[in-house]
């Protein structure tokens, strides 16, 4: 039987992550597949590190901008985190879906020099975001681990 609370959390998460990745709302088939993947309760999508994973997820779910900060950090310091896994799952669904594959796999900047300029700016912004989150998350995660606090484990579903 479907867990409606669990499904709603997954839907909300999908909407935030889709806005972060593509700047658009996910269409119904994408939402349905994302929820279906989570309904399987596959350990791949469960937090492995209750402190780090849960903290990153909590930040990322706040909105597309917060997700970009959390993912910038995760791409450097938590590549296998559940946040990255969920984003990669969503990307896989988007690229396989008829109405969204072009959102993630078509040329956006045909000019080579413009592409280089835009990429340089995007990479610079990425570095700033990653650093900003690292300054907050790394000491927090370290101190929590040191103190053995597990208060973050309660809010990890789905």
């Amino acid at each position: 039987m479907a867990d409606l609370g669990h499904d709603r959390v997954a839907e909300a998460e999908c909407a935030v992550f889709c806005r972060y990745l593509t700047g658009r709302q996910p269409p119904e088939p994408v939402l349905a597949q994302y929820v279906r993947a989570h309904a399987r309760r596959d350990t791949t999508l469960e937090p492995a590190d209750p402190i780090h994973d849960a903290l990153l997820l909590r930040i990322a779910r706040r909105g597309a901008v917060a997700a970009s900060f959390a993912d910038s950090y995760a791409s450097l310091f938590a590549k296998r985190s559940v946040l990255r896994r969920k984003l990669i799952l969503l990307l896989a669904i988007l690229e396989s879906t008829g109405s969204t594959h072009a959102w993630v796999d078509s040329v956006t900047t045909p000019s080579r020099s413009l592409f280089l300029l835009r990429s340089a700016a995007a990479v610079g912004a990425f570095a700033i975001r990653a650093l900003a989150v690292a300054v907050v998350v790394l000491p927090l995660a370290f101190s929590r681990r040191l103190l053995g606090r597990r208060s973050t484990t309660s809010s990890t579903a789905p």
């Binding site: 972060y20 990745l21 088939p29 597949q33 993947a37 399987r40 596959d42 791949t44 970009s68 993912d71 910038s72 995760a74 791409s75 450097l76 590549k79 296998r80 990255r84 896994r85 984003l87 990669i88 799952l89 990307l91 896989a92 669904i93 690229e95 396989s96 879906t97 008829g98 594959h101 993630v104 796999d105 078509s106 040329v107 956006t108 900047t109 045909p110 000019s111 080579r112 592409f115 835009r118 990429s119 995007a122 990479v123 912004a125 990425f126 975001r129 990653a130």
Partner: protein
């Protein structure tokens, strides 16, 4: 009528069987034979599939999302899609332990060749030096197989490494990326040939550029990786179907061959197989038996048979496989270009690196895959996913992958044996492999030359992204019971007849005494046809 029993249905098995049938033999093929699912909407292109299937996500990612590649997985740039999982589905009772080698098994109809990329390269005289026959001896069988399956290619700079046999079809239309590489090569040929001993030419591929034997030519659907829905890309199941149309052919599926039984004279008297459906054990009497289940499975059958018969645990030295290095690259001239998914997806071009000893030739395949899933690649770009995606989208048409293949030799430390600690009904195949000491230097040298060659062609290989695949990943296994002119235990004759068991023939890669850098499948098929012609 003379009869022969063939174990397996892969590339060697079906070409042996077809030749034997044509010569009037009764052929019984015993196989597990997992079946390929029917092709989905065979008229549609890759993009049309996404747009027209009711549930494209299940088709592309699998019902349980098993096609999603997460970080920390196998670190491959593309994997086998859900539609090809039947090729690698295992059977109950298969047990093995592996050290230094990650084996892939197939119990599907057509075997591992159902998931190949179509590379069809003849071995030359230098590469056949350790074989008991020359290129001239096997050339008629290369031509015979080419006439059966359809191979495209042309005379070009790679002909110096791979002779041009008969019945080669004109190549497919190059995609834009490939055409640019050829243009650059033409301009820089003197430097590449003279300074780097590096040559570029059209890949030889078992794909049709025109109608052939009732099969349609490549329709550029862009679905190669997902399984060609119109059989333009040859797989052994095409020849299996041809065998099945023959009145003297009997195909017995859902049988896992466990071992052979011998009479007192050392001849094989029967094949013992277990039903994969009911677990019932059956025995098939034989006059002659041909093992063609692939090097690991054929060797396992021989090892288990000897152990059950004589209580002896044999060691089969000389296991070989091609080391493969994957080197992604960016063609600078293609940045910002839209990519065309409706093209042939596997290698259209190949690179040959000449070495001091011709046998050490290094063979590299250039792939400009456009219809592989993008998420496994995007996640390797070292930024957040949105930035990585933005970079990737504008680079997609410019991306390419060089798959560099190295030869292998039979070395005593690489061996197959049995673990019999759990009794004769639960033996495990033990696979041990260690690369040669000089491998690192050889790989580093080839990588440097390929990077310089790519640069000369207007491409760059991003640092840190070259990936060494584990041994076993190329699935070019060979060498455990080699052909030998001199009769010796645990070898076979020049016609692949066992020197130990006179009515046993082994026609797969097990009998190869050397493994060149090229894909061995064409030679497997040609050798199997040769054995049928010369020994049957």
């Amino acid at each position: 009528v003379k009869s022969v029993l063939v174990v397996g249905s892969g590339a060697s098995a079906v070409h042996f069987a077809l030749s034997a049938l044509e010569q009037g033999w009764l052929v019984t093929m015993v196989d597990v034979g997992h079946q390929r699912p029917s092709p989905v909407q065979p008229e549609n292109t890759f993009v049309e599939l996404k747009e027209r299937l009711d549930d494209p996500v299940t088709y592309f990612l699998g019902d349980a999302f098993e096609g999603v590649v997460y970080p920390g997985g196998k670190e491959e740039y593309y994997g086998f899609p859900p539609s090809k999982q039947y090729v690698f589905a295992k059977v109950d009772g298969l047990r093995y332990r592996n050290t230094g080698f990650s084996p892939l098994w197939s119990f599907g109809q057509g075997g591992l060749g159902e998931a190949w990329t179509g590379g069809a390269y003849p071995f030359n005289d230098a590469e056949l030096e350790d074989f008991p026959f020359s290129y001239e001896d096997i050339a008629p069988y290369y031509s015979l197989v080419a006439a059966r399956i359809g191979i495209t290619g042309q005379h070009d700079d790679l002909t110096r490494f791979m002779p041009l046999h008969d019945h080669v079809l004109e190549p497919l239309t190059l995609d834009e990326h490939g055409a640019r590489l050829v243009d650059s090569y033409t301009r820089r040929r003197a430097y590449l040939n003279g300074k780097l001993s590096c040559y570029l030419g059209r890949a030889r591929t078992a794909v049709l550029s025109r109608s052939h034997g009732g099969r349609q030519p490549c329709a550029y659907l862009g679905r190669c990786l997902w399984g060609c829905p119109i059989d333009a890309l040859y797989t052994p199941s095409v020849t299996l179907r041809e065998c099945q149309r023959h009145p003297n052919f009997k195909y017995v599926t859902e049988r896992y061959v466990t071992h052979l039984r011998f009479d007192t004279g050392g001849r094989v008297k029967s094949v013992v197989a277990r039903s994969t459906r009911s677990s019932k054990v059956e025995e098939f009497p034989v006059e002659r038996i041909v093992l063609a289940a692939g090097t690991l499975s054929s060797s396992r059958i021989v090892l288990d048979s000897v152990y059950r018969d004589a209580g002896q645990v044999l060691e089969l030295p000389g296991l070989m496989d091609n080391r493969q290095i994957l080197m992604p690259f960016i063609n600078l001239g293609m940045i910002g270009r839209p990519f065309n998914p409706s093209t042939y997806q596997y290698h259209q071009l190949a690179i040959g690196l000449e070495e001091a000893a011709p046998k050490d030739y290094v063979h590299a395949l250039i792939t400009t895959l456009k219809t592989a899933l993008i998420h496994p690649i995007v996640q390797t770009v070292p930024f957040d996913l949105r930035t990585s995606l933005s970079v990737f989208r504008n680079l997609h048409a410019a991306l390419g992958l060089v798959n560099i293949n190295f030869p292998d030799t039979r070395r005593p430390e690489n061996r197959l044996s049995l673990d019999v600690s759990r009794g004769r009904d639960e033996t495990s195949l033990v696979i041990r492999y260690a690369p040669p000491r000089e491998e690192r230097g050889r790989i580093a040298g080839a990588e440097r030359r390929i990077k310089r060659a790519l640069f000369a062609l207007g491409c760059v290989a991003p640092p840190g992204m070259t990936h060494m695949r584990p041994m076993g990943a190329s699935v070019h296994y060979a060498g455990a019971l080699p052909m030998s002119k001199a009769p010796a235990p645990l070898t076979t004759s020049p016609v692949c007849q066992s020197h130990d068991f006179p009515n046993l023939f082994i026609v797969d890669g097990t009998t190869f005494p050397f493994l060149p850098a090229k894909n061995l499948t064409l030679t497997l098929m040609a050798n199997a046809a040769r054995v049928a012609a010369e020994a049957f």
